[in-house]
Symmetry: C2
Subunit: 310 residues, 2 copies
Amino acid sequence: MKQKLVAGIDIGGTNTTFGLVDSKGTIIYKETIVTEHYTLPENLVAVVVEHIQKSITGYADKYELAGVGIGAPNGNYFNGCIVFAPNLKWKGIVPIAKMFEDKLKVKAVLTNDANAAAMGEMIFGGAKGMKDFIFITLGTGLGSGIFVNGEMVYGHDGFAGELGHVIMFSDGRQCGCGRKGCLETYCSATGIITTYKLNTQYSGLKTITSKYIYEKALAGDVDALDAFNYTGDILGLALANSVAYTSPEAIFLFGGLALSGDFIFKPTIESFEKNLLNIYKNKIKILPSELKENDAAILGAASLIWNEIK
Amino acid sequence: MKQKLVAGIDIGGTNTTFGLVDSKGTIIYKETIVTEHYTLPENLVAVVVEHIQKSITGYADKYELAGVGIGAPNGNYFNGCIVFAPNLKWKGIVPIAKMFEDKLKVKAVLTNDANAAAMGEMIFGGAKGMKDFIFITLGTGLGSGIFVNGEMVYGHDGFAGELGHVIMFSDGRQCGCGRKGCLETYCSATGIITTYKLNTQYSGLKTITSKYIYEKALAGDVDALDAFNYTGDILGLALANSVAYTSPEAIFLFGGLALSGDFIFKPTIESFEKNLLNIYKNKIKILPSELKENDAAILGAASLIWNEIK
């Protein structure tokens, strides 16, 4: 009998990465193309499908394609459509899951990129066997995926789990969503850069990255350390509040900022425990994601199908 | 064949109310005793059991007892224990579900009072057929029950859904939980009384109730109207944030304050829509509970069993 393989596709504003993943989470094929080269989604789908078909043909004696998992900004699980994604060129509503199903004749499942990564953490990462956990991606923004009773929380409309847009301060920093004070304006790469610039009254021309701030912190720079502490303070409070909703067993942090180790984990955990309601104290773990940065997108997307097959 | 009846028991700091409920939510028998008359939980259980047995004997040709649902402060679904409830005299961990099971020889299910009422809303109230909703009780404090994918959110430890203790302002009002700025210090009967007293610089001896503020508002009193607006402002923001977690189809408001009609619903809904992320706007209903104030506790408790039988 042939073994099953799943295609995992991560459509991002810049690149689209896709690959073939076996049941153990081994990526046996991987490819990246530039999303914005494709002015129509049909064109991108055609190219991805061609690559996947070609690749799986090479393993035709051993493997068969069992499904396609897709992570994309504003990807909706219920209708399989990318819905008005602000950082994609394709406007309106794109029925991306159906487009892949029609071409590849297997089931396709779509959700947003953070949800896909959260599923990856459960199927292939540190959340294996957990029924209730929260997964946070600290990238340009702050994304999240929430699991309750062993299932992804999609909400009634497929758009649950937008913790980056919880309002922390009513008159806080301007957010890209049009409102003010959203969590991601503080706790993300963008957020810590803003904080660092405010700390240092930075007005230079050099583009500051979160990696730069990390390196400064490593060198003992007080403003950089303070930026991490401030970020962790707010993130810890937000996570403590999120516990009051779903009381998870653990909260996973993923993404660039989460790779800063103690610089971000220490102040986050301190603030988290300080702000937790008594009944929750000292029993909820804040952990680094066990997904590798480079593989997470494909593994996460593929895990959407593996979760249904398992 | 005999029809099934379920016992619903609501153990409160002051009174314990219990009754027998049929599958349609009709309460065919109802009784109230004073909780604090019973220094040991065993004594209260014995009296409640006696009443229930006596009552069901009267219907023995028609009905049989199918289970016992219990709502109690700090009631834990997973272990069936009341765990260190600050407003009950019984200290420590009380295995209340097992105590009822041993005496009545039927299944007993326990959860906290707000969760029980939320279940009541789904089985017998306005949330019938909904899979994702949030239920808020505005009483002395603010309690909540969250449903996701048609199931109650208990969390990994049985303590999920404590929205009253989401911290809204880090240096806000002192909360009974020991922390500051919790939602319930603003949005509850206690909260609106505090707001009204601050508005009026009240320092009199008369005990102010939320009903008094409601009557003042009815009479057009500016400070009372302002207290409702302030409460609704904060509640609307908190509910908008809660949507970012579970994206519910509706949010139900229950309890004394929720009976104030437009005084509380109008500012809450205004603030809610203003503070919602774009993708959620104009599609989530904020509704008054359809459970009758006097029956909700028993119906809610009984619905815990009806949910499992259905």
